[in-house]
C-alpha cells in the first residue's frame, strides 16, 4: 500500500501557502514563451508566473525581472535549467534582483538549493521519476514538480506518464508536489490533486496564451494540433516532446533509420527552438509543446485561462459528491 499522504490533513493548500499565491497554478518557465508579460499576467491572475531563463542572456534576464516587477506586485519566480546556462551568473542575478522563488530543472538539486534558501529564496525542483524526487527531497527543496511523459519540451527517459508518476512520487516524499504534464483544464487539475499533488504546473496552455512571447505562428500551430500531433523525439540525446512539422519528421525518420547520437545532433543543429517558437518558422523550427495541445482550441488571455480552470475545478469538485461517484 501507499504511504499515507501527509499533506492531506493540512488546513491550507501547501502550494498557495508556500508561494503566497491565490491558486496553486504554476506557469511553467518555458524557453521563448515566458517573458515578463506572460509572467506578470499569470501572477496578477492569482497563479505563479515563472520567467524562462533558459532562453535569456544574463542581461536579458535582469531586464525581464525588472519589467515583471513593473507589471505586478504579486509573487513570481524564475525557472533555471541548471545544465544549460551559466548558473553562477544567473544565481547572482536572482539574489541581486531580489527574486524570491526559483524553479530548477535539468541538473542536480544539491548544487544551489541551500545557497538560495539561505538568501530567503524558495526553491522547487523539476523531476521525471521518484528516484530524482527522493534526491530533491534530500537536497531540502521546498517543493517538487513531477512532470510526466505527456509534457512538452524536455522529458524523462522512463516515459512515465503523469497519472503513474504522481502516485510514485507521492510514495517517496512528504514535500509539496506540483503535477506537470497533461494539465490544461480544471478537471485535470482536480484529478492530479486527487492523486496526491498539491498544485499544478501548466505549460502548453500558457504558451498558447495571448500574453506568451511565443511567435503568433507557433500559437496558431498549437491551436490546430490534434491527438498524435506531438512526438517524444531525440531520445538518444535528451528526450524532448515536439509538435510534428518538417523538422520533427526529419528527426523521426533519422531515428527510425537508426542514426547515431552524433548524426542526430547534426540534424538538430543550433538555435532550432528560437527559429520555431520565437521567430515563427513553423517548418524548420523546433516547436516544444505537450500532448494537451490537442485540447487547446483558441488563443485566450491569461486571466480568462486561469478563471476558466478555477471555475471548472470548482464545478468538478462539487460533482464528486453526486451519485455518479457513489457506489
Amino acid at each position: 500500500m501507499e504511504k499515507e499522504i501527509n499533506s492531506i490533513f493540512d488546513i491550507k493548500n501547501k502550494i498557495t501557502e508556500l508561494f503566497g499565491i491565490k491558486y496553486p497554478i504554476i506557469q511553467g518557465g518555458m524557453i521563448w514563451c515566458s517573458n515578463h508579460q506572460l509572467v506578470a499576467a499569470v501572477s496578477n491572475a492569482g497563479g505563479l508566473g515563472l520567467l524562462g531563463s533558459g532562453s535569456m542572456t544574463p542581461d536579458e534576464l535582469v531586464s525581464e525581472i525588472r519589467k515583471t516587477k513593473e507589471l505586478t506586485s504579486k509573487p513570481f519566480g524564475v525557472n533555471i535549467p541548471l545544465l544549460y546556462i551559466h548558473s553562477d551568473e544567473v544565481m547572482n542575478i536572482i539574489v541581486n534582483e531580489g527574486v524570491k522563488i526559483v524553479f530548477t530543472s535539468a541538473g542536480n538539486p544539491k548544487l544551489w538549493t541551500s545557497f538560495l534558501q539561505e538568501k530567503g529564496i524558495k526553491v522547487a525542483h523539476v523531476v521525471s521519476n521518484s528516484k530524482f524526487a527522493q534526491k530533491a527531497d534530500e537536497a531540502g527543496v521546498d517543493a517538487i514538480v513531477a512532470e510526466g511523459f505527456e509534457a512538452g519540451g524536455h522529458n524523462g527517459f522512463e516515459e512515465t506518464t503523469t497519472l503513474t508518476l504522481i502516485s510514485s512520487v507521492r510514495r517517496v516524499t512528504a514535500k509539496p508536489v506540483i503535477a506537470a504534464g497533461g494539465i490544461s483544464n480544471g478537471r485535470a487539475m482536480l484529478a492530479t490533486m486527487v492523486l496526491g499533488a498539491d498544485g499544478v504546473q501548466i505549460g502548453s496552455l500558457f504558451a498558447s496564451s495571448k500574453e506568451s512571447s511565443a511567435h503568433e505562428n507557433f500559437k496558431n500551430e498549437i491551436i490546430k494540433a490534434n491527438e498524435g500531433d506531438t512526438k517524444l523525439l531525440l531520445k538518444k540525446i535528451v528526450p524532448v516532446r515536439l509538435l510534428n512539422n518538417k523538422f520533427s519528421e526529419e528527426v523521426f525518420n533519422a531515428e527510425s533509420a537508426g542514426k547515431s547520437r552524433e548524426e542526430l545532433s547534426e540534424i538538430l543543429g543550433k538555435g532550432r527552438s528560437k527559429v520555431g517558437m520565437f521567430n515563427g518558422d513553423i517548418e524548420n523550427g523546433e516547436l516544444e509543446i505537450g500532448q494537451v495541445s490537442a485540447l487547446i482550441d483558441s488563443i485566450k488571455p491569461v486571466k480568462a485561462i486561469v478563471d476558466d480552470i478555477i471555475l471548472e475545478y470548482k464545478v468538478a469538485r462539487q460533482q464528486v459528491n453526486i451519485e455518479r461517484f457513489n457506489f
Copy 2:
C-alpha cells in the same frame, strides 16, 4: 471549452447500471492471464471479469465460459481482439454459450456490434484516440474503453496518455467511458472519473493477482518492476508495452539500429507471449504489462485488490471536501 459532460447529472453510475455490477471496475481481458479463475474472482468481488479470448482456441473458450459460470452467478464477459482471432466462430460461441457482455478491441466496431446487440448482448469497444471513440459511438456500442499510453500490451500509435485521452474522448461522445491505462489504486480510479470517465478497466494489477493464470515467474517480475522498467516497443509493427527483459532489449536494440518491420517481425517470432506470460520464461518471452507495474508490490487475492481500491477511492472522495482542495 469542453462540451458539458452529460453523464455528470445521472442519478446512478452508468457502468454499474449497464453491466449490473456493484463497482465500475472492469478487469481487462488479457491474453494468458484472464482465465475462469480470475474472471470469476473479479465478478464475485463486485467488478466485471473478462475472459481473454485472444489466447484461447474456440474449444478452450467454450470450456472457460462454462467453468466461469460454475464459479460465479454474477455478470462476466469476454474480450475479443477482432483482428487476431477467428471472429465468426468466437461470436457464435458467445451467442450459443449465453455470454451477455463482450468487449471488442483491435478492429472495426461496426463489424459485430449490432449482431451482438440484437442477441441482447452489451458491447464495449476499446479505443486509443477520440477519432476511434467517435467511430465506436457511431457503431452504437454501449460503452467505450479509452486506453492510454501507459497501459500494458497493445497500444495506440498516437501515444496519448490516459490523462489527456479521457478529456479528448469525453469531448466527442456522451456514451459511458471506461478509463484504462495507469490505474492500480483508488486514487487513480477517482482521478480518471473526475476527468469524466464512468468507470475503470484495470489490467496489470489483476494480471499480478493470485487468481491470474499468468505464470508465477511473470507475476514475480511484475512485483519487482520499477519506473522505467517497461517500454513501448514494436512501433513499426503494432505498438506494445513490454516489461524489460532479454527479449525486449533485443527488440529495443534492433529498433535503435533502424531495423525494418520485416526484420523486427523475425526477431518477434511466434508465440512469444505464451512463452513469457504463461510458460514463465522471463528472459525470452514477451511480457506485456503496464507502467503501473512500478506501483505493484505484492501478489494479492482479487477480493483484497478490489476491496483496497474501493476503500482508497472512498477515502479519496471524502478528502476532496477538505481544505487542501479549497481556494
